[in-house]
């Protein structure tokens, strides 16, 4: 399998891997007997907002985690801005799924944001006024300034999600990777998050989002990556987000009526 991945990696070299904020080649991940992600190539376009979509259990989150080294892939190469991942960690901000942590952890909102500054602070560096000011500024951008001293367990789901986004903003990265940021949040939070993500794009940053709501894909994103264990389609929304690719990714799980609706919405 390693050999196969290498061969595939070479054959797609020409697609601007050197310039891509995140390029994945021949990625295969398995949690047991069955692969969760199989031989996937992905080339994220710089300065764009990309949605990773696919049915439940299609390997969307796993692809992201493997790309970041959170889970170990069986095979595959990852380059970030044309360099090995480990050299580029400072340029990446990752927002995990909200449900992946215990929100009863004894810490305040401001402390979570300061975690985003830990690369600058180092092992024993002291938190100074300028770090606090920067953290407050990030909280302000997600409309959570007045919650700085709250214990994180006292927040609603939407507020928790915004805190996670603010921590990513504190990292001041060039590539933002978010895992299901809109899952189980209120409408106000969804609006606040998408506004922040669009401002990041305007500032020239690259944003990749694992997304589950097909109805908002065309509104929010310019690129899509469809996956169902294997890659199904990749490209601009107009090219890759079509009735055929959706049918291929979701199979029988997506009602024909839904596909019609999406097709009509897309014109």
């Amino acid at each position: 399998m390693l050999e196969l991945a290498t061969v595939q990696g070479e054959s797609v070299e020409e697609q601007g891997v050197d310039h891509s904020p995140l390029a994945i080649r021949g990625m295969t991940v398995s949690y047991g007997q069955k692969p969760a992600v199989f031989s996937v190539d992905m080339t994220v376009q710089p300065g764009a907002m990309t949605a990773i979509i696919g049915p439940n259990g299609a390997g969307k989150s796993t692809l992201l985690k493997a790309a970041l080294g959170i889970v170990s892939p069986l095979s595959g190469q990852v380059t970030v801005f044309g360099q090995p991942l480990e050299d580029q960690r400072a340029r990446i901000a990752y927002v995990p799924q909200r449900a992946s942590v215990d929100w009863d952890f004894p810490t305040r909102v401001i402390d979570v944001i300061l975690m985003g500054l830990s690369r600058q602070l180092g092992l024993l560096g002291r938190v100074r006024a300028r770090h606090k000011a920067r953290a407050m500024d990030c909280l302000n951008r997600v409309g959570m300034r007045e919650f700085a001293d709250r214990q994180i367990g006292q927040l609603s789901g939407g507020q928790q999600q915004r805190v996670f986004l603010a921590r990513a903003l504190a990292q001041d990265a060039d590539l933002y990777l978010l895992d299901e940021p809109f899952a189980g949040v209120d409408a106000a939070t969804e609006k606040a998050i998408i506004a922040v993500l669009k401002s990041l794009k305007e500032a020239g940053k690259t944003v990749v989002v694992v997304h589950h709501d097909l109805a908002t894909v065309a509104d929010y994103f310019d690129h899509v990556f469809l996956i169902n264990t294997r890659k199904v389609a990749e490209g601009s929304v107009a090219q890759a987000f079509t009735a055929e690719t959706l049918q291929s990714a979701y199979g029988g799980r997506l009602a024909t009526a839904q596909i019609d609706q999406i097709s009509r919405a897309l014109g």
Binding site: Y31, K65, L68, G69, I70, E86, R89, I92, A93, Y94, P96, R98, A99, S100, V101, D102, W103, D104, F105, P106, T107, R108, D111, V112, M115, S118, R119, L121, L123, L124, Q151, I152, G153, Q154, S156, G157, G158, Q160, R167, Q171, G184, V185, D186
Partner: protein, 309 residues
């Protein structure tokens, strides 16, 4: 009580009990938050095969080989627990259960099969330790603390547990930030370059060393209690990890001092004749403090239900 009586008879057991309690409570804070608190229980079981193997290799009951054997077994156990947890993708409690029952059973078999039956490996000693017997007979009063000759007669458990406590404090201070971040959010910690696997292993190995050093001096009851009770009680007092650590040290110290004094004098005050086990009393006090904070602590309710989105 005068210094002449206090220093030789009570000072060293008090210090040893307190240092052991703090050395276990500090890593206990992270273990409780990581839902790995039972590691103390696991370690106190797996030291049996370690001690038996050390005895078989050296053929004598002496402290250093046995402590090395115990520490070796503890490290083997925590590495196996971590490996089973990650490879099998099961919850930490199950991985610990599998490893420590198997190793404990192996230790029992080994003990039975070999010619150790003539040797007195004391179960009671293993449970309660012998805190009361760790006295400093060379001391004549407070001035002995400056007397080099008297200091040479200190029970060897004292410098050993003091050194262990200093090591645990240094580890916690140096790796405070990565420990906190990776305990809260392991995935995020990975992405900012923290080697979470290595750090998690270092934490349990630190806990194992603290457990073995404390186990030797004060027995397994205190070890198991101190990994869980002071940190859990401290969690009920505050919503900040920094403050929780401070509270856990206070609770550990109060349990050790109050428990020791109460074990020695409590029965007399109640009209009884003999003192009770200091280790048992220290563990009981820590459990009572946990119960009190669970009822009256200001931060005892779990507010973190993430479902009310």
């Amino acid at each position: 009580m005068s210094g002449e009586e206090f220093v030789p008879l009570s000072l060293t057991p008090l210090l040893i009990g307190t240092f052991a309690a703090i050395a276990c409570a500090l890593p206990g804070n992270f273990l409780v938050l990581r839902k790995q608190a039972l590691i103390g229980d696991a370690i106190s079981h797996v030291v049996l095969p370690g001690i038996v193997v050390a005895f078989l290799l050296t053929g004598a009951i002496s402290t250093w080989p046995m402590m090395l054997g115990a520490a070796g077994a503890a490290v083997v156990a925590v590495v196996m627990i971590e490996a089973i947890r990650r490879l099998g993708q099961i919850e930490p409690g199950a991985a610990m259960g599998v490893v420590f029952t198997t190793m404990f059973a192996g230790g029992v078999l080994l003990l039975e099969q070999t010619d150790t039956s003539t040797v007195h490996l004391d179960v009671e000693h293993a449970l309660y330790g012998n805190l009361e017997s760790l006295i400093w007979l060379d001391a004549t009063g407070w001035q002995s603390l400056l007397d080099v000759q008297a200091l040479a007669g200190l029970p060897p458990e004292l410098p050993r547990i003091a050194l262990t406590m200093v090591g645990v404090i240094l580890f916690t201070w140096l790796f405070w930030r990565p420990l906190k971040i990776s305990t809260f959010d392991e995935g995020f910690a990975r992405t900012i370059g923290i080697r979470t696997g290595v750090l998690g292993m270092a934490l349990v190995i630190t806990a194992a060393i603290a457990a073995v050093a404390a186990f030797d001096a004060v027995g397994s009851i205190i070890v198991i209690a101190m990994f869980i009770c002071p940190p859990a009680a401290a969690r009920m007092m505050t919503n900040r990890l920094e403050t929780q650590i401070a509270w856990s040290v206070i609770f550990a110290t109060v349990s050790a001092v109050f428990g020791y004094v109460l074990a020695g004098y409590g029965p007399l005050w109640l009209g009884g004749e003999d003192a009770v086990s200091a280790a048992g009393m220290i563990a009981t006090i820590s459990g009572l403090m946990l119960a009190l904070t669970a009822v009256f602590g200001p931060c005892r309710t779990r507010s973190g239900a993430p479902s009310h989105a």
